[in-house]
């Protein structure tokens, strides 16, 4: 029977993919070192073959899930015949083995994309990039084959039915959050590979940054969306209305994001000005290393969290070794090959360069503080010095002031010119923005909350400062080139048209951060939360709304039974509506789960969760008002969209022809002339 051999096919495909990954890792790099075109050309077919076989392997596992083949241990542990089909398909990455397979599949997908979209690259550069990615892929494929084989069989005692997927994971969030997050994590391997290739090839000029920038932006955008989805999922799934817990696993995703944010800015400096070269390479190494560290933290089971499922010590060790080898090797190559400091272009104290330098320093400091708070408990535990945990106050105490500083400089950055910016001119252009931001931010909490709140004022101040300085910048930029005063309107339109997509991407990204900051400030300070005890017929007032429990009934879902409460919500002068929070009991796993009722709105959510059934038929209820909570994720989506917008800028589409012309003379000269004025403004 065909069904019966799917797992073996998948396993076999996995082994073939591993063999190809090894070839992809060794042959092209050797070819590049010895200048053999045929060997270098080996990289692309291997990348394609690897991708193909990993897809086959992945589909085999998916088929085992779809066909309820419980003889496969992984399927038996994470699925059930009653599980709805869409969760069966996403249960593939619902636990350790499958999610590592997804990780590798995505990695090979990125390699494939690089080999397809970067054919204009110099041959040896492409060979080296794919070679480095081959190394990463080999490492992880070996990891799967040795420690986490998802195709392991349970023979001959095949269970009659599966243990079911963890109820927390039976949600839309599982379908979208992990793939997005992994796209981001793994995507940073591309810029890492480019940096390594540039080092190995001894061509640490600006060219590699221009090739790597779009890839980095896309990976960063995916990671942004992935983190936002995770936050949104935790918000409605865990049932207590939190959207960020400073949980080590969340931090694990935030770390590469922070480093990646620094990286996309320093890539810009290196590309435009030819400075920060070594720094950019280091950041590329660190960003990807932090992605690996994140994978280690999540996959090794050293953490106590909702995400920690695997706990086979050999797995943790393997990833730790992989991490150590990656960091050690790449830093060693960096130390050997990094050019001696030879920055050609200096810059003034106040310039876009210096502001971006500050941006990088601040982001790195933020990364380090989060890293410290995340691994400090692990280190102490590992050294046998006691079990501790670091609470959210630590992170808040450091993160809030650092973000405030970051935003202060972020307002200045886009308006400052490269190389030198007279302070007086900058001050003149931003004075109005600053005054308006301060006044509005001071007054706003009085209107909204009725009393002054420092946190809300700070949040609005930062957000308004960002927005208004960008508005000013757009205003100034579109005004340039006004030659004929009579046709003022039309020239402004022309000014708008002159601005590049990359510029609009920056504007959108920065606006996104402003929106997120408003969300954080508002929901943190004006959150209303009440835990009450209610029986059918009872009611309670929370924040101007009346919540009345009008009914309670039992209901059967596909693989669970549920108690569903009907809550009628009324507000004076408005029409009433009902909300239906549920308490589910999953039959196969015997696990309870509360399903939150949400009434989402742009300016605030109502959040009702059923707690537990109390002795006399009462229920405990968690009722929350969450002002502006959607802005958190809306802002993140805007940031991601900004990153993508910058990628589709014409500059990158124009790039192929230009570098195709360069391909003939090797090696490429590094940029010795300062960038032309047109490039500076774009």
């Amino acid at each position: 029977m065909l069904i019966r051999i799917f797992p073996e096919l998948g396993h076999f495909a996995l082994i073939l993919a591993f063999a190809m990954a090894v070839l992809q890792a060794v042959v092209p790099l050797w070819g590049a070192a010895t200048r053999r075109p045929l060997w270098m050309a080996f990289a692309q077919p291997m990348a394609w073959g690897q991708f193909t076989f990993l897809i086959l392997s992945y589909l085999s596992l998916t088929a085992s899930f779809a066909l309820d083949d419980f003889s496969v241990a992984y399927v038996a542990n994470n699925s059930n015949s009653l599980l709805p089909w869409y969760y069966k398909l996403s249960a593939v990455w619902g636990s350790h083995e499958g999610s590592v397979l997804l990780w590798v599949l995505i990695l090979s997908g990125w390699s494939f994309a690089v080999s397809v979209f970067s054919r204009h690259l110099p041959r040896d550069m492409l060979a080296r990039v794919l070679g480095v990615m081959g190394w990463i892929s080999s490492g992880f494929l070996l990891f799967i084959l040795l420690t986490s084989n998802p195709f392991e069989r349970l023979l001959p005692d095949v269970p009659a039915d599966g243990a079911d997927l963890n109820p927390l994971l039976q949600d839309f969030g599982l379908i979208v959050h992990p793939p997005m997050l992994y796209m981001g994590y793994v995507g940073f391997s591309v810029v890492f590979a480019f940096a390594m290739a540039a080092l190995l090839g001894g061509r640490l000029d600006s060219a590699w940054t221009r090739w790597a920038r779009p890839w980095t932006n896309v990976a960063w955008a995916f990671l942004t969306v992935g983190i936002a989805l995770g936050s949104w999922w935790a918000y409605y799934e865990l049932g207590w209305g939190g959207w960020w817990f400073w949980d080590p696993v969340e931090n694990a995703s935030l770390l590469p994001w922070l480093a990646g944010t620094a990286l996309i800015h320093s890539l810009a400096v290196t590309e435009k000005r030819g400075t920060f070269k070594n720094w950019t390479v280091l950041l590329a190494i660190f960003t990807f290393s932090l992605s690996l560290l994140g994978t280690f933290l999540v996959r090794s089971g050293v953490l106590t969290s909702v995400h920690a499922f695997a706990n086979d010590p050999s797995r943790g060790t393997f990833i730790l070794v992989l991490l150590g080898v990656t960091v050690g090797l790449s830093l060693a190559i960096f130390a050997l090959r990094a050019p001696k400091v030879q920055s050609l272009a200096g810059f003034g104290w106040l310039s876009r360069d210096s502001l971006l330098l500050i941006n990088n320093i601040l982001l790195v400091v933020m990364t380090v503080t989060v890293l410290l708070g995340t691994i400090y408990p692990l280190l102490l535990d590992g050294l046998g010095l006691g079990k501790i945990s670091v609470g959210p106050p630590y992170f808040n105490a450091l993160f809030v002031p650092l973000t405030a500083l970051l935003c202060l400089f972020m307002g200045l950055g886009p308006l400052a010119r490269w190389k030198r910016m007279p302070g007086r001119e900058l001050a003149r252009r931003l004075a109005v923005s600053a005054i308006v931001a301060v006044v509005t931010a001071a007054v706003l909490p009085l209107f909204y909350g009725g009393s002054f709140s420092l946190g809300v004022t700070l949040g609005w101040l930062l957000a308004l400062w960002l927005v208004l300085s960008l508005v000013r910048d757009v205003f100034d930029k579109t005004r340039h080139g006004r030659s004929d005063k009579a046709r003022k309107g039309r020239t402004r339109l022309a000014g708008f048209r002159k601005l590049t997509l990359a510029y609009w991407g920056m504007v959108l990204g920065h606006l996104g951060l402003a929106v997120t900051i408003v969300g954080v400030a508002m929901v943190s300070h004006y959150n209303v939360e009440r835990n009450v005890r209610l029986a059918p017929g009872g009611s309670v007032d929370v924040g101007g709304y009346q919540f009345a429990m009008t009914g309670l009934r039992e209901r059967r879902g596909p693989n669970y039974t549920a108690d569903t409460a009907t809550i009628e919500v009324t507000r004076p002068g408005r029409s009433s509506f009902t909300m239906q929070p549920e308490k589910r009991f999953y039959v196969a796993s015997g696990m309870p789960l509360s399903d939150v009722a949400l009434r989402p709105g742009l300016f605030g959510d109502l959040y009702v969760a059923l707690g537990e059934k109390l002795d006399n038929g009462d229920w405990s209820l968690r009722i929350q008002l969450k002002p502006f909570v959607r802005w958190l994720w809306l802002g993140a989506l805007m940031m991601a969209a900004g990153g993508i917008l910058a990628v589709i800028d014409r500059r990158y589409r124009r790039a192929p022809r230009r570098s195709a012309a360069l391909q003939t003379h090797e090696p490429m000269p590094s940029r010795l002339v300062p960038p032309s004025p047109t490039e500076v403004t774009s």
Partner: protein
């Protein structure tokens, strides 16, 4: 040349100062926000400080959960089968909270030796035993055979 060197010196000094401040603040914040972990036996031995946020772990003692009949207040006993700690909580217990299951509680000890909980954590997995709890039980020789630590 001298001007350039001087400027470089200023940059280096500035960076060092910035890093020093950052490290200082970080360590201060870290020290103020570390939650130590204690077992019921350690608390009974008087090792745990009063009035500081900490985490305790153990198993919820059978028949110890006592709810107030008209509020959400609840008390229960966390035990490592050698010593007990009484815990008071005024919030909704997590879905997987059950008698006989491992829990980790974050809160403070009050003067009477009662533990005022701010947060109760029960793992979202039936077979799961928080690693701290498993270790605490192992220390008293009471780790139940059936439960695999943190799998």
């Amino acid at each position: 040349m001298r001007a350039k060197r001087k400027r470089r010196l200023i940059i280096v000094i500035g960076l060092v100062a910035l890093v020093a401040v950052a490290v200082g603040l970080t360590l201060y914040a870290l020290r103020a926000n570390i939650n130590l972990f204690f077992t019921p036996s350690q608390i009974a031995a008087g090792e745990a400080p009063h009035g500081r946020t900490m985490r305790i772990g153990g198993v919820v003692k059978k028949d110890s959960v006592d709810r107030n009949s008209d509020s959400l207040e609840v008390t229960f006993v966390v035990t490592d089968f050698a010593k007990d700690v009484e815990v008071r909580y005024d919030d909704i217990l997590p879905d997987l909270f059950r008698e006989g299951q491992g829990v980790v509680v974050i809160g403070q000890l009050d003067e009477d030796g009662e533990f005022i909980a701010q947060q109760v954590l029960a793992k979202h997995d039936e077979t799961y035993m928080p690693p701290e709890v498993a270790e605490a039980l192992k220390a008293t020789g009471n780790l139940p055979d059936g439960s695999v630590p943190s799998s």
